[in-house]
């Protein structure tokens, strides 16, 4: 096992830095998912036909955003957004800039998952909010979100794993991160051992993430 310590002595710092980059991208994009994607998914759910706040135009716009962003192959989205990223962030390269397209996807992915979960809440629950004369914000905050919380947490885990996978291609714009690290130092430079170790690190991180998500989600489920 000496080669491992040797490998880590040589590449450990770079790997940690790559992990930190991935961590940054994930944290920021998950924040976007929760702050923007969650309300967006709720909006699609609420404004759909028969929803608590039925509203065709709003529904169309929100739904369209999700669909369009999700339908872009991610690599192309990154490329497509370059001018926008440059306008907003001053540059289109580097970890920070690469996080912007990731946020767009994070919002869209999580919004769709949120909608899917809300659709599975038994209709009687919406009925309760309705007959109590809840305003839409009340229905959301007091009834729908609490009822869906277990699923929402699980879906956030799911989304973060997708995002980790997506972040891998951000090397295109110099985003860095652990996936890109595996690609560049492992694959492109034929350091198989380093590649496998890096992949193992990624897998372990994901398993941990999934485990935590699962546990929280089960604990929140009171049915």
């Amino acid at each position: 096992m000496e080669w491992i310590t040797e490998l880590l002595a040589q590449h450990g710092d770079a790997m940690l830095e790559a992990l930190a980059e991935t961590g940054y991208m994930l944290v920021v994009s998950l924040l976007a998912a929760v702050l923007v994607g969650l309300p967006l998914g709720m909006t699609v759910f609420l404004t759909a036909r028969g929803g608590l706040a039925e509203h065709r135009p709003v529904w169309s716009v929100a739904n369209m955003y999700i669909n369009i962003v999700r339908s872009f192959p991610f690599l192309l989205l990154v490329v497509f957004l370059i001018p926008f990223t440059r306008a907003v962030m001053g540059t289109s390269f580097g970890t920070q800039a690469a996080t912007l397209p990731l946020c767009f996807v994070a919002v869209a992915i999580y919004a769709r998952l949120v909608e899917q979960i809300l659709r599975e809440i038994p209709p009687g629950i919406s009925l309760v909010a309705r007959t109590m004369g809840a305003t839409v914000p009340q229905a959301v905050l007091r009834v729908l979100l609490p009822e869906a919380r277990s699923g929402l947490v699980y879906a956030l885990t799911s989304a973060s794993i997708s995002l980790l996978s997506y972040s891998t291609v951000l090397g295109v714009v110099g985003g860095g991160g652990i996936g890109d690290f595996a690609m560049r130092y492992g694959y492109q430079e034929y350091n198989d051992a380093l590649m496998y170790i890096t992949i193992a690190v990624i897998v372990v991180c994901v398993l941990a993430l999934q485990g935590i998500g699962h546990r929280i989600s089960v604990r929140l489920d009171r049915r």
Binding site: I125, L127, M132, G133, A134, V143
Partner: protein, 256 residues
Amino acid sequence: MQASGAPIVELAAVSKRYRGADDPRPALDDVDLTIHRGEIFGVIGESGAGKSTLLQVLSGLVVPDAGRVTVAGRDVGALGRRGLRELRRDIGVVFQGIHLLSSRTVRDNVRLALQLSPRSERPSRAAQAPAVDEMLEFVGLGHRGGHYPAQLSGGERQRVGLARALVARPALLLCDEPTSSLDTTTTADVLRVLARARDELGSTVIVITHDLDVVKALCDRAALLERGAVRELFTVARSDYRSMPSYREQVRRELM
């Protein structure tokens, strides 16, 4: 006691036929009905007669095909989203299917109704907890406040639904089979709460039930629905819910 107040609920020629049902019979068939403020009104009829539909029409959850529904002076069919919301805040509903929130404890399920009540009438945060606890005691669930709905028995769930509808002391109370899973002791407790809501708060109560003892013990008047139509309207010679025997008493009398 015959109701004396002004009309609070008026149905004029209300009909409803569900779409998508391959059954041609209407759920409501040309219903005319007036219920007065302060009245306790029973709705009886066989299963499928249209009782639940009638209740849903009153809170705007089901839109009738024809006719006019007036509640508290407001034409329900003409209310916008906002108007409906305000109307519903004045109405307490006990569902036939109960529908508790699985993610909230019993106490928080009941408190929900307070949190959603009109701001002007909403008790302060500090006053909510005692109001909730008092109501839970009333339905005999003081010891279950911290439980989640999945941990309750069927009758316990029904009583939570009742507490939720009652706690905000609504002007109009719609109850769909509120005592269907309850023994007579608990039923008498529930009836006592309903009668008090009327006597002390002036609430109007509409109760759907298949149990004629409940009608006799509680209601001023009752309507018998048959195939969606009001077949008969009774003025009840009301006996007193206070005289309803306890369950043990009744068991002794009837089974021993």
